[in-house]
Symmetry: C2
Subunit: 292 residues, 2 copies
């Protein structure tokens, strides 16, 4: 069993992105975060992304809005950012409050600045296998881990557990593409899938993105599989000072011994998500300058 840790791979990606940014020269890429409300997890995600941006020489800014902002006002702000030639990349931190239709907001981000890849134009480009597509950072980070660890995918079974717009579907679309570290046989399973354990046992690479702590048990995993745990679940834990701990969708202790590779939580895919956001930001800046 080899622990597939995010830290060294994310660091290698960030080194590459830093070199890309240096090569680009000129004004540093600029990334604007839009955050609505003060959800502690959102606050901390944005903090951590901004720190990484700063370290890489990406110019980042946070535009915070109160929970009470109307959808219209938020859309108007995004439109202003779309129009601003000094902004290369826009990230609207999810989740948004219930009175705002998230999809509409994500679709409002100019496709050339949509570094989260949640907008319909970029989703469509992903389906079309357009190399200029911005692909959602978490699935892109999963593919990058697999690529840098040299885990083969061609012709092999990838099972994606979860069909969200943010992880499950784009991950499936990525691994079914033609090309290296893709060309896989992809299955998308979910909470309605019958015979789930038999199904996940087919996986050479199992991507767990179902959002339930410890959902994937040893009996659901084939001997020698690669298991990518995308879950970031808060579980009450009175032994911790903050009263909770973060666990994945995989019951790590019993699953790990069966795996060729497994990602830990925390310290796995989460770090890749931030790294790929930087990758996408540098790409947005590069495409903008090349006039695309």
């Amino acid at each position: 069993m080899k622990l597939l840790e995010g830290k060294p791979i994310a660091a290698a990606v960030l080194d590459d992105v830093e070199a890309d940014i240096r090569r680009l020269g000129g004004t540093p890429p600029s990334l604007v975060f839009v955050r609505v409300g003060e959800d502690p997890a959102s606050v901390s995600y944005v903090e951590s992304k901004r720190k990484t941006a700063e370290r890489l020489g990406v110019n980042s800014r946070l535009d915070p809005f109160p929970e009470s902002i109307s959808e219209e006002a938020l859309l108007a702000h995004i439109e202003a950012l779309n129009q601003d030639p000094a902004v290369d990349a826009i990230l609207v931190q999810a989740p948004l409050p219930a009175h705002i239709e998230s999809q509409r907001v994500f679709n409002a981000v100019d496709p050339s600045k949509d570094v989260d890849g949640f907008g319909r134009q970029n989703l469509g480009r992903l389906v079309q296998e357009d190399p200029d597509a911005f692909v959602a950072c978490t699935p892109l980070g999963i593919q990058e881990m697999i690529k840098r660890a040299g885990i083969p995918t061609e012709g092999r079974r990838v099972v994606v557990l979860g069909r969200s717009l943010i992880v499950g579907k784009p991950a499936a679309l990525l691994f079914m593409q033609k090309g290296p570290f893709a060309n896989a046989t992809v299955t998308v399973a979910h909470s309605r899938s019958a015979h789930l354990p038999a199904l996940t046992r087919e996986a050479d690479i199992l991507i767990a993105a179902i959002g339930r702590p410890g959902y994937v048990t040893a009996s659901m995993v084939k001997e020698g599989a690669t298991v990518i745990d995308v879950g970031i679940n808060r579980v009450e834990d009175p032994s911790r000072a903050r009263g909770y701990r973060i666990t994945g969708d995989v019951l790590f202790d019993e699953v790990a011994p069966k795996c060729d590779y497994i990602t830990p939580v925390p310290g796995g895919v989460g770090l890749m998500t931030v790294a790929m956001l930087m990758h996408n930001t540098a790409k947005a800046c590069r495409l903008r300058r090349s006039g695309k």
Copy 2:
């Protein structure tokens, strides 16, 4: 074994579309076909689609161009159709000549008139499960057959053989959606997939869209499966006056006895494709009038 014929189901769909069009009232929906060159299959497809349109009271027109038209000129024509308020729907008949980048042409069609659903906006909307998406006619027709035959999909295994933009990927995206006649566990397999026969044997519903005559044999199909044959392959046949016959991707004679349901070729999915084009055209007209 029940033969799942396209004719009665397509007829029922067309009756519904005709009623929809009557309900809409006013000027009939208008559909413009753009055809490049004189490929006999394309000529005959467009003919057959136009005949159906006429029968339903859809106003159709053919804009034919010579094989030699430049990409720029074709794009300019599409832009004129996009701008024309009298045009509800545009269909650019595939395939296009090699000197034209098909994807660029499909993406140029205004998303609100893109009744083939090949453009990136509509592909993105399909990923987002937006009910206003135009979904490619063949996968939509497959779902419609399954719906009208009352074949359950929820939680069951759908295996799609082929990952094209026109059939395989949109079919996979449709059947993995939340909702009735979807909610399936979807696998996309293709020519690079390892252990293909074992894989296709997992299918409760097997959608063969790989474009190889007789590719799916009895040993690749589970007893009691539903087999949807999307293949339209021309095979030389000196016994026919025209010198060829049309066969599907499934070796019908040996596969049929194992199936609960199977579609014939010809007379299966092909008829549904035309029916769903009419459905999408009526939908384009309705959405346009409702100001969407």
